[in-house]
């Protein structure tokens, strides 16, 4: 997304001369403020991380000692759980499968959902509000009810998995990676999010560009999309985590070990009454790392590097 046609966004750096002045004015409060903020954030982070710290601790605890006592640092840490997780649960293959599925889903949502959300916000057509609400409404129906219809449809995809043109005779997209992406490729909530995001931005730019004779596609791709970096970042993160965390759909449509996803691989350690805490938590740590990486990469989209983001503390 290179931005050759730099739009008049008002986001450019303020004239250099204004910066020092502003800094100076807020200087008196800053030290105190910073301390408060640091303490608040540190406290919250610690609280929020307690359960996760525990999971990491368990991941390094020999299985037979798990949950024996309240000890955050395991007495004799081990890497055994990690090898169990990787080998027994075939986690590498699951990671690869999940990564492929997640990549396709992220792409689908970043393109199709953002486009649709933009259109709903900026280019309303007759009945678009009604259409929009019925799309969003589908997210309010519990999956217990839609699971079987969706399963039947996945099995009945025409010309896939040995099916004829009417979708009969074979297994359709069951037990395939394509089948895994089906319910997630365009998430209605992402359309909703994109619409809300764009509905907050000014339409003046579009009007001006239209007067200049720019097409709608050009207006979107050259003016509004570059402004929507935080939106793209959020949708990428949410689509990724959404599909990465999904458990029920992969459980229902996959059967062969070749199409297992990470959550299914982890479920292997959740044996009733005999939960293997060590390997489970080790697996969770391994499976969480890619998501943190995706998050760290994308969260830079929240920093509009052109301003010093001065304001709200």
């Amino acid at each position: 997304m290179t931005n050759t046609l730099s739009p008049p966004t008002g986001r450019e750096a303020p004239p250099a001369a204004t910066r020092p002045r502003r800094r100076r004015r807020r200087g008196g409060l800053d030290g105190h403020d910073r301390l408060t903020r640091a303490v608040l954030l540190l406290g919250t982070c610690l609280l929020v991380m307690v359960p996760f710290a525990w999971m990491i601790s368990l991941a390094f605890t020999p299985p037979e000692q798990a949950f024996g006592s309240v000890a955050l640092v395991p007495e004799d840490p081990t890497l055994e759980n990690f090898s169990t997780a990787l080998l027994d649960a075939d986690l590498l293959r699951a990671l690869a499968n999940s990564a492929i599925v997640a990549a396709v889903v992220v792409l689908g949502n970043c393109v199709i959902a953002i486009l649709a959300g933009y259109a709903f916000a900026m280019l309303p057509f007759r009945g678009s509000t009604a259409v929009f609400f019925s799309l969003v409404a589908t997210t309010a129906i519990p999956v217990s009810v839609t699971l079987i219809p969706l399963f039947l449809m996945t099995r009945g995809v025409p010309l896939a998995g040995g099916n004829d043109i009417l979708g009969q005779g074979g297994s359709g997209l069951l037990d395939t990676l394509a089948g895994l992406t089906l319910p997630h490729l365009v998430m209605p909530m992402n359309i909703f999010l994109a619409r809300q995001y764009f509905s907050g931005s000014s339409r003046d730019l579009a009007e001006a560009a239209r007067i200049d004779g720019a097409g709608e596609w050009r207006i979107f791709s050259r003016i509004y999309l570059p402004l929507a970096k935080p939106l793209v970042a959020v949708i990428a993160i949410f689509s990724f985590t959404g599909v990465w965390d999904d458990f029920l759909w992969p459980l229902v449509i996959t059967s062969s070990p070749e199409s297992q996803t990470v959550q299914l691989a982890l479920a292997r350690f959740l044996v009733d009454g005999n939960v293997q805490y060590g390997p489970l938590m080790a697996g969770v740590v391994l499976v969480t790392l890619p998501v943190i990486a995706v998050f760290l990469f994308n969260q830079r989209g929240f920093i509009s590097g052109l301003t010093d983001g001065s304001v709200k503390g």
């Binding site: 933009y118 009810v145 999010l193 809300q196 929507a228 985590t241 943190i292």
Partner: protein, 280 residues
């Protein structure tokens, strides 16, 4: 219109069709195990679930659950988003730390929370340091739902924060510049610029939280199994039981559409309320 078409087609086929299918099933006695075609039973399922006290109770539990989680998580997330909006050394790490709960597999995390709530778990241990009596958090009618809600707040905090953060970034910075030149105080900036600018995303956050919280299921499944005495049996938990334990898909679908009506009503009310303030 062309921009919307791909999304429309896709969502229409893979989201709307199953929903319509489910709506049709709600007027039948469909049993996925049965070999005979389902019979159409008219409104029998709807009549039956409304005369079922367990279903009515579950709606109340669901409502309570949403009210316990929603305000807390939105307020906390907003505060945190404001705190991590400005870049500082390590801001990425802090944001990630706050986001982590949202991405850790729920089943695994529930194991840890189960233990934290257990009679000799971390929370009772901490109470012990202050000479406070231990509680049986998940097994007491009065504390079970709040205990589940606390975990949900923890889990939902990160995603709400990220959304609000994106919203904050969409507010043009020059608005603040101008206001500050006019001598506006920090609270005034928040009240007259941040909050109105954040409104579209805030509407999204609240609407989505209502939609997802009202379908709370997995955390209940793992932590309490709906107990004690049904005090954590949300409607969606009941729907799951009805659909996959008792194989009564028709009645489960009817429950789902009644729940849907409540969710739609509640989200519309909330959205109206928030947008209404703009007009006044």
């Amino acid at each position: 219109m062309l921009f919307v078409l791909p999304a429309l087609l896709y969502v229409g086929i893979f989201h709307l069709v199953p929903v319509v299918y489910g709506l049709v099933l709600s007027f039948t006695d469909y049993d996925p195990l049965s070999r005979t075609s389902p019979d159409v039973v008219g409104f029998d399922n709807y009549v039956a679930i409304f005369s079922d006290a367990a279903f009515r109770d579950s709606l109340l539990v669901t409502g309570r659950y949403v009210l316990m989680v929603l305000p807390v998580t939105v307020a906390l997330a907003l505060g945190l988003a404001l705190l991590v909006n400005r870049p500082f050394p390590g801001v990425g790490l802090v944001r990630s730390a706050l986001y982590v709960p949202h991405i850790v597999a729920l089943t695994a995390v529930s194991m840890v929370w189960l233990w934290m709530y257990s009679s000799n778990g971390l929370i009772n241990e901490v109470l012990g340091w202050f000479q406070l009596p231990a509680q049986s958090w998940l097994y007491d009618e009065d504390t079970a739902l709040p205990a589940v809600a606390a975990m949900r707040v923890w889990k939902a905090l990160g995603s709400n924060m990220v959304l609000l953060l994106a919203g904050l970034q969409s507010i043009p910075k020059e608005l603040y510049e101008a206001a500050r030149v006019d001598g506006a105080r920090r609270w005034q900036l928040f009240r007259h610029i941040t909050l109105p600018g954040l409104r579209p995303i805030l509407v999204y956050v609240v609407a989505m939280d209502i939609i997802f919280l009202a379908q709370g299921f997995a955390e209940i499944f793992v932590l309490t199994g709906g107990g004690p005495l049904g005090s954590t049996t949300t409607t969606n938990y009941l729907i799951y039981t009805e659909a996959f334990q008792y194989n009564r898909m028709g009645s489960a679908s009817a429950m789902a559409f009644v729940l849907f009506a409540f969710i739609a009503g509640a989200s519309l009310l909330a959205v109206r309320g928030m947008l209404g303030r703009r007009q006044s």
